[in-house]
Amino acid sequence: MNVATPPDALAAEGLDVCYRVRGRDRVVLRGLDFRIRRGESFGLVGESGCGKSTVALAATRYLPRNGRVSGGRVLIDGRDVLELDNAELRRLRAHSVAMVYQEPAKALNPSMPIGRQVAEVFEVLGSPRREALEKARAMLGRVRIADPASVMVRYPHQLSGGMQQRVVIAMALAIRPSLLILDEPTTGLDATVEAEILDLIEQLRREYSTAVLFISHNLGVIAGMCDRVGVLYAGRMVEEGPTRAIFEDPRHPYTVGLLRCLPRRGRSKAQGRLDTIPGQLPPIGAQITGCIFAPRCVLADDLCRAVDPPPVRLSDGRVSACHHHERAPDLPTTAPPARRLAVLVDQAAVPVLSLDHVSKSFGGGAVTVRAVTDVSLELWAGETLGLVGESGSGKTTLARMILGLTGPDAGSELRINGRALASHAFQRHAAHRKSLQIIFQNPDTALNRARLIRRLISRALGKLAGLAGAERLERLHALIALVRLGERHLDVRPRQLSGGLKQRVAIALAFAGDPRVVVCDEPTSALDVSVQAAILNLLADLQAERQVSYVFISHDLGVVRYLSDRIAVLYLGRLMEFGPAEAVFSGPHHPYTEALLSAVPSVEGGRPERIALRGEIPSPVRPPSGCVFHTRCPRKIGAICERDVPQLREIAPGHSLRCHLHLDELGGAQAPAAADQASVS
């Protein structure tokens, strides 16, 4: 090694990792090569099962019992991690490398106060107990915890997810490590909290000049956080290089496809279908000859199927493992040209679904949780209503009330085609039941795993369409054709199908009885990006063909934008803004909507000025007085916000919001062009 240049913070050289499952070794990482220079931030992206987390575990020598490094080396600060003895490994962990992962609640010891846990980091480095506690308090202050002294004596379960993650970050950065590994550190956190955490990481990283390995499935997050990116596919680094170059001019068909799948740049269903990547990931540990991506690649030829492409070093410091990297940018699209008919919404007609002063509170007495408060909405045939909001916003409760899985409070009125709906599904007319169906978030739990697909669909047709015998069989085939499934998918059980196929079955079940309104509860968030696009296409196609209405819930604003005609923004169970999708996204909009939009990381790079929200989402047990958003509102006027509940007022035809600010003071009012920042992953 050259003595003059300091060693890389992390280097993987031909790294192979395999897991032993049911008596056989399954390859998870295949000859991984990459390096992270000192102070550099490196992003590792890939879909589920591609081996991202295994990289982190192998680097810190914390593979599970059945995992082992079967080839290659990992070096941290120039030292081969696999060669270290126990004492050296401990020293490395104590001084040089730190890790932050998903689910901060689990990363903290549940039976030890926060202060002690943070102090331990300093004790390992030789500080006496008292001094360590003092340093711990200072460190908690650095991660912008407002009252470190009180947090010190608390236990993890007493803190919110965002606070817990701050504590974990404090522990990680306390030692000023030369390498910080972040494994999906903000997945599962709310968008506004996520933005806060990302800012914090970015700021401290620069301050401490720590090198970062940032692992995420979210392309937007990586784009905003990293200098360089590696794209992982089935344990193989398919492309690697500077972030800008990768995102703007990808040179591997997989990267190209991945980026095209994203509904972005404010795209909506009217502008046509999304591109998709055909096929699915090879199963973990599959034996593959040739290029690992060949089975799903439009460019694949005999060469690709026979010879594993070597990494090719291109100009501007990037590497692509593709025989045809020069043709990758011109990858043919899989989506046929837009031929989808725009749905004509007749707002003069009776709304297909209407909610009048719908509320729901749980519990009673001192601990009443007001999940939904006085929400009124209308939905017309053939349109999609997007429900947007963070945790505790009441969007799931609202959906459950529409379906009759949760009974609303007295005084709430729900109507379908103008006819009153009973509170609970079992009290509803069969006709109402079949008109209102749902597509759940997770198809694994939404389909009874004990059944054959054929039986699942037959039963739904029997119950919802009242069909039997040959007629039912005929409709069964029509239905599976409708959701683009084949005959061969009928006589298998759900677990034999991939996530995307399972979600198609779930869609078929929902459409068995020709529904008028389908609630889509995060229907793509359990799916990978490449599968998500195909499902969104299917939903939009079905809507155009059948004039069905959707109530679409998602935390992903890009997805919501793509499918929705109108959007309702909820905060703490209150409707904050409601209007046409265009108008809500472009503004003028509610300060909360504005903050939500600004929190979304975008693959176009360079996150625009983010509007920071202070503090935590308040508890729905004791919502703030006046405007419920005033505790976090960056544009709070003053006492009026704490005192008076703002009325929902119409600022344009069909567009109303709940805020004391004047119309021309609202965000987005002057700059409608800011709409494009809604592009997300």
Binding site: R65, A94, M99, N109, P110, S111, M171
Partner: protein, 319 residues
């Protein structure tokens, strides 16, 4: 839920359990046999004698009256008169309970540390031969009935090696060590049955804690392995074991019935067994209910202890 509210709720639930239990025992001992007098005197007895006995026992009264009479007396410590000894049940029960607690205490003092140690050792070697040996042996011993292991032990240590006395009764005024020697052999079958349970729980808890993310956090801090285990793994791993140990009280008392019979020991187990053989219903009833009371109190104590040690319950949830 805060700590105090948890304890109060738990006490209230225990009272409900005990009340239900008293109803069940009452039904079992006084209603299920149908005609108690007939059950005692046998099918050939004179009907008039049966009626007279029924009247004397008070079982010809309405059920509710009988239940009230029995339960209210039980609460004040009056547990009726034994049909066999023609004396109040209370003193018999008290003496037997004291003896049984002595035996149970020895078994517990042996098995709890052994079980936890075995479980933790197995967990530390998870997947290796030592783990399999401890797990499979523990599991196998758990299901061998006490009378089987008792007899094997008596044969080996009492008859062939003559190391230990085969009877649990000692002479009046024997010292603590002599008593201990006499109780050691009877305690071992109980230990064998309980060891597997406690070791399994301790193992499961430790394996889970070893795999937990917070343990990874601790290891990644660069803490020495010993510190990781003592500070981060064991406190979280063994907390649930506390409640399991208490619920094993039930199995332990069940085992006493057999063990005390085999070793001729005057405890609550042999008291119930003899009462059952002799159809001494007042004695049986009170003995069984007393076992329920002891068990309920033991689990109550364990749950309260658990809540005191577990910060999640002690401090309640997030504001």
């Amino acid at each position: 839920m805060s700590g105090l509210r948890f304890v109060l709720r738990r006490v209230a639930l225990s009272l409900v359990t005990l009340w239900l239990l008293s109803v069940i025992v009452f039904l079992g001992a006084q209603v299920l046999p149908g005609d108690v007098g007939r059950a005692i005197l046998g099918p050939l007895a004179d009907p008039r004698a049966v009626a007279a006995l029924d009247h004397k026992l008070g079982v010809d009264r309405p059920l509710l009256v009988q239940y009230w009479d029995w339960s209210s007396h039980f609460v004040t410590g009056d547990m009726g008169r034994s049909l066999v000894y023609r004396q109040p049940v209370g003193p018999f029960l008290a003496a037997a309970l004291a003896n049984s607690l002595k035996l149970a205490a020895i078994a517990f003092l042996l098995v709890v540390p052994l079980g936890i140690f075995g479980g933790v050792v197995a967990a530390m070697n998870v997947g290796r031969a030592l783990d399999r040996i401890i797990t499979v042996t523990g599991l196998s011993m758990t299901v061998v009935p006490e009378f089987v292991s008792s007899i094997v032990l008596i044969l080996i240590f009492g008859v062939w090696l003559e190391w230990l006395p085969v009877s649990a009764s000692w002479r009046e005024g024997a010292g603590a060590f002599t008593q201990f020697r006499h109780l050691l052999l009877p305690a071992v079958p109980l230990v064998l049955v309980l060891f597997g349970y406690i070791a399994r729980m301790a193992r499961a808890g430790t394996v889970e804690a070893l795999d937990a993310d917070y343990t990874r956090t601790a290891v990644m801090k660069g803490l020495p392995f010993r510190t990781v285990v003592w500070r981060h793994v064991l406190p979280n791993a063994l907390l649930p074991t506390i409640t399991v140990i208490a619920t094993q009280m039930g199995y332990l008392i069940g085992g006493l019935v057999v063990v005390e019979t085999v070793f001729h020991y005057q405890g609550i187990g042999s008291l119930i067994y003899n009462a059952a053989k002799a159809k001494d219903f007042p004695m049986l009833e009170s003995g069984v209910l007393m076992i329920g009371v002891v068990y309920t109190i033991a689990t109550l104590i364990a749950d309260v202890l658990y809540s005191l040690l577990n910060p999640r319950i002690r401090f309640g949830g997030r504001e």
